[in-house]
């Protein structure tokens, strides 16, 4: 995986699923490991065991934590419903009424709550298994900001009061940087930043440049002291309106949604490795033959790293994940 991410020669692409927004955990593996949701979202031992169990059961070729995209927003003041076996944790109340209130944001504390759970889980996984690549996940600055104030408010303020919006997202970004560096220090080999809300499909090219790229790069550049870390950025949605902007991202690997054609994107970002983009709808609901077909198609379209195109539905059969990984291994 490390070679593939750096663009060195490999005999086949790795098959991974980062975690975080791009959740890899399914009910089959919760039942198998005895580490269920929601407990595994706030218990570091269970979080680590759940991630390791998936890896050891013929699942993806990595471990990734956490299993949702609400850790950062919760730590900065948003109210989260922790969900259940069927539902991921999700924000039910924003921390702020408007971006102008940025002064009242809480700073993310590395020593408490689910932030600490994630850091501890990374250490536990590293102690249990020295060889497995561990991916630490960060929710992107726009997506985190969009949970700290109502997303619609944020989008409107990007146009109507950009100065306050920049101040607000800068604070969010500084907190995300602290969390990312702490994940690296805890032992993460890879940092994956997922930006589902900051996509070009929602923002258009101008705002995508002024906000999404600017702040993703701020986090990516803050990790420059850690040369050995692989940096992945995942952006959801169609990207046609921003194809020409994506090369500005200072990441090693770019991961995309199934709505994007991997081969087309290659021409726009020749310098990065491409990751993706097997439909999670297919992995979740179709039979193994179809999953294998789509996986082989992703390889044929030139995926340097094969991965689901988004977070997996929690009802996805474990056998479909195994088939996907096996299909990549067999080439």
């Amino acid at each position: 995986m490390f070679k593939a991410a750096r663009g060195e020669a490999v005999d086949r692409p790795p098959c991974i699923c980062p975690g975080g927004m791009m959740n890899a955990i399914v009910q089959d593996i919760m039942l198998k490991s005895g580490c269920t949701w929601p407990e595994s979202h706030y218990d570091a031992e269970k979080m680590a065991k759940l991630a390791l169990s998936l890896y050891l059961s013929g699942g993806f070729e990595n471990c990734g934590v956490p299993f949702c995209m609400t850790v950062e927003a919760e730590a900065m003041g948003a109210i989260v419903d922790i969900g259940d076996m069927d539902a991921e944790p999700h924000v039910v109340n924003s921390a702020l009424n408007s971006t102008q209130d940025y002064a009242s944001l809480k700073n993310l504390d590395l020593n408490s709550g689910r932030v600490k759970t994630v850091l501890d889980a990374i250490k536990i996984i590293k102690a249990e298994d020295k060889t497995v690549p561990v991916i630490g996940n960060i929710t992107g600055p726009i997506s985190t900001a969009g949970q700290l104030v109502d997303m619609a408010r944020l989008l409107i303020d990007m146009r109507k009061s950009p100065e306050d919006c920049h101040k607000f997202i800068n604070i969010v970004c500084d907190n995300l940087i602290n969390f990312a560096i702490a994940q690296v220090q805890a032992g993460a080999d890879v940092i994956c930043i997922a930006e589902p809300s900051g996509t070009g499909e929602i923002l258009g090219a101008e705002l995508f440049n002024n906000f999404t790229i600017k702040y993703l790069n701020k986090i990516l550049d803050a990790l420059n002291d850690y040369q050995e870390i692989i940096k992945i950025v995942h952006i959801c949605g169609k990207l046609k309106s921003v194809y020409n902007e994506l090369d500005k991202l200072n990441c090693d690997v770019f991961s995309m949604d199934s709505a994007v054609d991997l081969k087309t994107l290659r021409d726009y970002i020749p310098g990065k490795r491409l990751m993706g983009n097997v439909s999670t709808h297919a992995i979740g609901t179709m039979n193994e033959t179809k999953v294998i077909d789509l996986t082989q198609n992703a390889v044929a379209r030139g995926a340097d790293i094969v991965a689901p195109a988004c977070g997996l539905p929690v009802f996805t059969p474990l056998n479909n994940i195994r088939s996907m990984v096996a299909a990549v291994r067999q080439g």
Partner: protein
């Protein structure tokens, strides 16, 4: 001299289209004070403006932030004009219960559908986001709604969409209440699979879908 009705209709439309969400209120007041027909102001002014914005969105010249400011301009002016419409005229079409299925709180798509349905004169009961399965069904029963609209951006709440359909079946009222679904991870094949009555790819199509399902004549463009 007071501005002509045509000028003011054009101004209302332009304010919505050009994201003038404060100026639009002044124009709506001027329109109302001149005694012009409020319903016409909504349909030929505000809705015209939001339709032009939707066209720009389809052409990828407007994106969601622009569309949201256009909508808030429309809503600001609706607050002025709607109270002036005589009751029997505003009743309009049937009731639609709408919400984001439990497991998700992304509601921009749902809100756009609500705006479009309301501007097409449906009475929309908005349950908000992260809505439990039984709330959809119970509200639809209580209110006599003919349609339930379910939205999600997250695959984890797709299961709950299926549960709404199942609950309607269990209660034997599936044929009385149509279910429509939409959102990022949703497709026509998913709608077919869970037994929903329809899927729509965007907010404008959702109106046509509801018109078709409840048998409203589709107005000529």
């Amino acid at each position: 001299m007071a501005a002509s009705k045509e000028d003011l209709l054009q101004k209302l439309s332009d304010c919505v289209f050009e994201m003038e969400d404060e100026e639009v209120v002044n124009v709506a007041k001027e329109y109302a004070e001149a005694g012009y027909d409020p319903l016409e102001g909504i349909l030929k002014g505000l809705v015209n403006g939001i339709n032009r914005a939707s066209d720009m969105y389809e052409r990828e010249e407007y994106f969601i932030p622009e569309l949201l400011i256009c909508s808030s301009a429309m809503y600001n002016a609706l607050d002025v004009l709607r109270p002036l419409i005589p009751k029997e005229k505003s009743g309009g079409k049937c009731k639609v219960v709408i919400g984001v299925a439990r497991g998700d709180t992304h509601d921009i798509g749902k809100n756009l559908v609500k705006i479009m349905l309301e501007s097409a004169n449906y009475e929309v009961i908005d349950l908000g986001r992260d809505v439990p399965v039984e709330d959809f069904v119970n509200t639809a029963k209580r209110e006599g709604a003919k349609v339930i609209g379910l939205s999600t951006l997250m695959s984890t709440s797709m299961n709950n969409m299926a549960k709404v359909v199942d609950m309607l079946k269990q209660e034997g009222i599936k044929d009385q209440i149509k279910v429509i679904v939409g959102g990022g991870p949703i497709s026509q094949s998913f709608a077919d699979k869970i037994g929903a009555d329809g899927y729509s790819v965007n907010a404008a199509e959702a109106v046509k879908l509801v018109d078709r399902l409840v048998g409203e004549p589709i107005p000529a463009a």
